[in-house]
């Protein structure tokens, strides 16, 4: 405990020293009352205070072994009844088909084609928010699951008996297929389609092709291992959104909607193999995206130049460069994580690092969420205006005006740069404090002695400070 107060004292004292020269200004945020780096110091102080508060006030396990309570029949019937399930499944299938259709038949311009904004913003980012708020909603809307169930039901009716999966899903594979899929999606979005300083963006046609290929792959995997088994382990988007849904207060159990304490679902989420990798890839991908717009812009440019000087074609050089830096970002995030875990191992040398890593993987889900909100908040605010106005009325970009909103545009004045910065800062703070709480609860469950639990968590605190400072630094540089 003394360690926590000591840390607080040192950081506060350091914060009162004269400001370092050349503190980096944030463009468009000249009205910020403090230099941007001071927000990183503030975040560190908040985390230290939170750590002390958790150690003093959270003395017993609260989240592990949580209670789940079913919600009322009326609400359950409305949300999980047959009509709701059929409607959600049909909506998912229609949207999947529409993405492929607009991707193939629509204009090539990514900003005027429904498919690109829908997949990379509404689906990829919007569903994360919905998952945290309402639970695993993607499961209900999952188009591949809906199609597979209809086909399986039809097949069973035709042959007169229920079919079983020909292969048992190897448990040791855990979530690794989903991890590979996530890396693939991130590669498509940030490497194949990145538009940093050369034109190589993902075209709607490329996205449609990728969607069809992924759909085929998913149907084959479901056919081999069973629909629900593949959804529960290998299907990338199901696992990605379920990871964030584990933070939600809502959970469907045996077909019934119920309530649980917030964050508690995360305590059981990370059990299958590959869960840790999924969380770290989620954090690493956002880290890379943030870094390539700011702190890595120079190094990427210089590596790209070296590769083109060596004779590589510009597009190949660009994608190779981005791949290298994406791998470096993933490695950096993993290094920070394992640094914290090995520090924890010093406190209790009897536990293996891999065991500790798996035990604390779930605590990093709020960080993945915080990074996502901080980095993409403004993108969602702006692009969703496009999604629900001109992209909705003119999804193919051919001049249609289905709902009379084709002439609308994006109001970039809807939210100011300063407000965006405060949302980003708030997201980073809240996400890391929640991560500390999850780690603290797990430590109490793991080490019955509160003192050892507290000392193990000083390393979680250090890791959280690293991630929050890194996140704020990347944001400040990306917006500089």
């Amino acid at each position: 405990m003394a360690a926590g107060w000591g840390l607080l004292g040192v950081v506060v004292t350091t914060a009162l020293l004269p400001a370092p020269a050349a503190a980096h200004g944030l463009v468009g945020r000249s009205d910020l009352p403090l230099p941007d780096w001071l927000f990183a110091w503030g975040a560190s102080i908040v985390l230290i205070v939170s750590f002390v508060g958790l150690t003093l006030g959270w003395r017993e396990v609260r989240l592990e072994g949580y209670r789940w309570r079913a919600l009322g029949h009326g609400l359950n019937a409305a949300v999980t009844g047959l009509a709701a399930r059929l409607g959600a499944g049909a909506a998912g299938v229609l949207l999947l088909g529409f993405v492929v259709w607009t991707g193939i038949d629509g204009v090539d311009a990514p900003d005027r084609n429904f498919s690109i904004t829908f997949v990379f913003v509404t689906f990829w980012l919007g569903l994360v928010v919905l998952s945290v708020l309402f639970g695993d909603v993607f499961r209900a809307f999952n188009p591949w699951r809906a199609i597979a169930h209809v086909v399986a039901r039809g097949f069973s009716l035709a042959v007169g008996r229920r079919q079983t999966a020909p292969l048992a899903y190897p448990e040791r594979l855990g979530r690794w297929p989903a991890v590979v899929g996530l890396v693939g999606f991130v590669f498509l979005e940030l490497v194949w389609g990145q538009t940093g300083f050369a034109t190589s963006g993902v075209t709607p046609a490329t996205l449609a092709t990728a969607t069809v290929l992924y759909s085929l792959y998913t149907f084959v995997a479901m056919g081999l291992f069973g629909i629900e088994r593949w959804i529960d382990r290998g299907e990338t988007f199901s696992q990605y959104f379920a990871m964030f849904a584990s933070l939600s207060v809502f959970e469907v159990r045996d077909g019934r909607l119920g309530r649980r304490p917030a964050l508690a679902g995360a305590t059981t989420w990370a059990r299958p193999a590959g869960s840790l990798a999924l969380v770290l890839v989620a954090i690493g991908a956002t880290t890379f995206d943030g870094a390539q717009e700011g702190v890595l812009e120079g190094p990427i440019s210089s590596t790209f130049q070296s590769l083109t000087d060596a004779g590589l074609a510009p597009l190949t050089a660009l994608r190779l460069t981005s791949s290298l830096y994406l791998a470096a970002a993933l490695a950096a995030v993993a290094a920070i994580f394992w640094g914290g875990i090995y520090g924890m191992k010093i406190v209790d040398g009897r536990r293996r690092a891999l065991e500790l890593g798996r035990k604390f993987a779930h605590a990093f889900i709020p960080i993945a969420l915080a990074y996502l909100v901080a980095h993409y908040f403004s993108l969602v605010v702006y692009q969703e205006q496009a999604q629900f106005t001109f992209l909705l009325s003119d999804p193919f970009g051919d001049g249609s005006d289905w709902f009379g909103t084709a002439g609308s545009g994006i109001d970039y004045g809807l939210i100011g740069a300063t407000a965006i910065w405060y949302v980003q800062f708030g997201a980073i703070i809240v996400g890391h404090v929640l991560a500390l709480a999850l780690g603290h609860d797990r430590a109490l469950a793991l080490w019955k002695d509160p003192r050892t639990a507290a000392y193990s968590q000083v390393w979680m605190l250090a890791t959280m400070v690293f991630f929050s400072v890194l996140g704020l630094y990347l944001l400040s540089q990306a917006n500089a």
Binding site: A22, S44, V347
Partner: protein, 49 residues
């Protein structure tokens, strides 16, 4: 001067809190580990939690 050093004014203020916390955490851990080792080496064995 390398770009990293040239831009130290940008990243150094961010590194300071992380470095301070890392040093404090390392010291706290070493002290706690020593205490645990002392408890185990004492004639009465490890102290009850």
């Amino acid at each position: 001067m390398t770009p990293v050093i040239a831009h130290a004014g940008h990243w150094l203020p961010y590194v300071i809190p992380a470095a301070v916390v890392l040093i404090a955490v390392t010291i706290a851990t070493i002290r706690e580990r020593r205490r645990q080792d002392d408890d185990e080496d004492s004639p009465g064995g490890p102290a009850a939690p």
